[in-house]
Symmetry: D2
Subunit: 135 residues, 4 copies
Amino acid sequence: MKYDFELKIKVRDYECDLQGVVNNSNYQRYMEHTRHEYLESLGENFGAMHGKGIDAFVSRVDIRFKVSLRSGDYCLSRLRTAREGPKLVFYQDIYRASDGALSASGRVETVIVENGRLTRGEYFNDLIKKDTTSK
Amino acid sequence: MKYDFELKIKVRDYECDLQGVVNNSNYQRYMEHTRHEYLESLGENFGAMHGKGIDAFVSRVDIRFKVSLRSGDYCLSRLRTAREGPKLVFYQDIYRASDGALSASGRVETVIVENGRLTRGEYFNDLIKKDTTSK
Amino acid sequence: MKYDFELKIKVRDYECDLQGVVNNSNYQRYMEHTRHEYLESLGENFGAMHGKGIDAFVSRVDIRFKVSLRSGDYCLSRLRTAREGPKLVFYQDIYRASDGALSASGRVETVIVENGRLTRGEYFNDLIKKDTTSK
Amino acid sequence: MKYDFELKIKVRDYECDLQGVVNNSNYQRYMEHTRHEYLESLGENFGAMHGKGIDAFVSRVDIRFKVSLRSGDYCLSRLRTAREGPKLVFYQDIYRASDGALSASGRVETVIVENGRLTRGEYFNDLIKKDTTSK
């Protein structure tokens, strides 16, 4: 699969729970952070967007957990985007860096709200277009 | 829908993010905490189970986000369980307490591993049976 | 010692780390949540305050860790307030509920900023005065 | 001041709270992660240590908060170590990367417990000695 973006993340020990593995909720956090870093790679910042009255909200998250990450592990968090109707969907896979094993695989639906009104995600489309043009 | 368990949870302000609403990852945490409290209502504790070599792992989580919870909100986190093959599946809904609005709706698949071997969840079945018998 | 407020908190398993005990950072979170619940008991909400341009900021936190909390534990989080110059200081102790053992003991300095200007905490004084008068 | 170790950390948006700044508890987490990365730089891993029956516990944390970090910020998390009696003390400062402003300054006391017995931290001394010798 071709990805649009990749981020290397080191497991932090406070993210591991009493089972000695990264708590499931943190994969959702890794994925959020990866989306926001992707956004920065397009020249926009999530907090600044919020300040302008433009908010991306997650409407659905679906994650399959495969191989558990542990203390000391690095992972590669990759995403690709797709338009599905009014929704911007992120396909996000997290791989263990040491051996390339797939650790978690997610599909995250988002919508963009501008000044309280649901949009068809034009704001995000424009960011991608600008990014593509400038290359 | 009939639920097997309900837990009232107060939003904690550190769970809210810069958008002023509870961060999505925390709904997954609310759901985990609700499952573990349900487990305690059946007479077992998640940490004690781990100490005995029995671990429940989440294999998939699918959450739809509806109405955002905010600072000051209480929510009612409800679950019902279902057997689907070797998996124990939790259907989990989180309602805003003030008006009963559905805030998030999840389906969480879990498997039970005993001493490193995947089981068909007999351990959990026995807990439920004991609980039903004792009533 | 006489406390102004008490909150009972159940340990959530995702708050425990790979050592099997509540991660240190979560005591700071328990203390924050206790202060904010105390604020609600005085008739104010932290998020609503922020919406009015009034923010409490922590300027210093000093916590001694004694007995570790674990999965299944309840704790009693107690606080008393003191004025020390322009600062509002919270003395916060967390006790394990099962045996009353002191788990963590903190001193948290806060300042109140109104519309970007540092105050002497008059806003909070007024809340306490109103609360005392109404009793 | 001379530091023993430095780690660059990017603020993650879920670490920011409804005030739009990094929640105080996360500075404690940044500091923990920095200590554990320092440990890895000495050739040891915190989770592996725990597996060998050797645990470092924080006995006290004292943090002064100066300039708030926000969405998009990078910080430089620096530490130096000191022996103070049986305790290993970490002096940890977090600077905003963009302008070098001091964001938070902490003093963290730790003790090392081997197989349930409190030690004078010989295990850590040996790690440092080995590290120094090998350079």
